[in-house]
Point group: C2
Amino acid sequence: MTRRGADAASKAPAPRKPAGRPRDARLQEHLGYVMKRVYSQIHSDAMRVLEPLGLRVSTYSALAVIADNPGLRQSQIAEELSIERSNAVLIIDALEEPGWITRNRVPTDRRSYALEATLAGRQVLERATEALKAHEARFFAGVEPAALDQFAETLQQIARSAEEGEENP
Amino acid sequence: MTRRGADAASKAPAPRKPAGRPRDARLQEHLGYVMKRVYSQIHSDAMRVLEPLGLRVSTYSALAVIADNPGLRQSQIAEELSIERSNAVLIIDALEEPGWITRNRVPTDRRSYALEATLAGRQVLERATEALKAHEARFFAGVEPAALDQFAETLQQIARSAEEGEENP
DNA sequence: TATAATTGTTATGACGCATATCAATCATGG
DNA sequence: CCATGATTGATATGCGTCATAACAATTATA
């Protein structure tokens, strides 16, 4: 028994890529769609670059914020990276286990930890940052530097505008 | 027994947001990081907009490609959206179940289905496209139109450049 | 002093991605 | 013509990123 529709459809071979209108033309009109495609590529490339160092995109981000701002609390890391506190716990666990950061009790507030990067953590962070920067240089190599600068500037504006929108709904 | 580091850390209150260097300054230097933040916002907004229509971002994308290109096969949908065939099966299932698309057997190739959107599918697609466009208009409202046009142009260049990189590694 | 809020934790599920494997079917080459 | 390779769709499963819910311990507030 066929599970799907009865034989009824096209008798022609599968439509090939036409010379005219691309198949995702409607989607290409959404800036979000194009951004998603580009970001997906960047993300999977970044995972590949970070994997030999034992890092992922999310743990790299957290390590960067911790290393550059010693003493922050977990809830502040979560806020900075726009993630839930519960997810920050797991990410920080993944940084503590290999000895890249320490959770230090705060005498004045026994609920909290002051987070710090260790020497090993700072070292792996520097290597990861260099590796990611090299990847980005390759990834964006096909784009005019002036156009890329303008792109980055507008992206920052969009990001700021979006954050303001979040705070004043 | 404390599970984490012994009491040893900061005696000061949790560091507040400084007036100077932002805490994610290192991350802000990565275009990918800023794109991820913007895209995450767009994605969660889009999910919220699509949810009342019974759609998700991924099913909306597939429905758009199917509706605009009747007769495509599942593997072509997967290729067009840069997703795995196995994941395309689940997405197409989610469109077939509410009656938005049909899987039609192909007499000349009994392995394949020719996919088509139904009237209901085309109708929900139009509503979804309108809702998403309205959201995007609001989301990008704080950015100069000329700057946004330039941004979109460069984003397309980046996307093309990245795809060429995939095909010629 | 009671209550509200905060911090961190654990559990869990949704979603989007990936790989592996398989059966049925079609294409290809000898 | 037949064996083999390739394709199509399906199922199972795991990983990573997201979310919510609930809770205990602790601090802040009224």
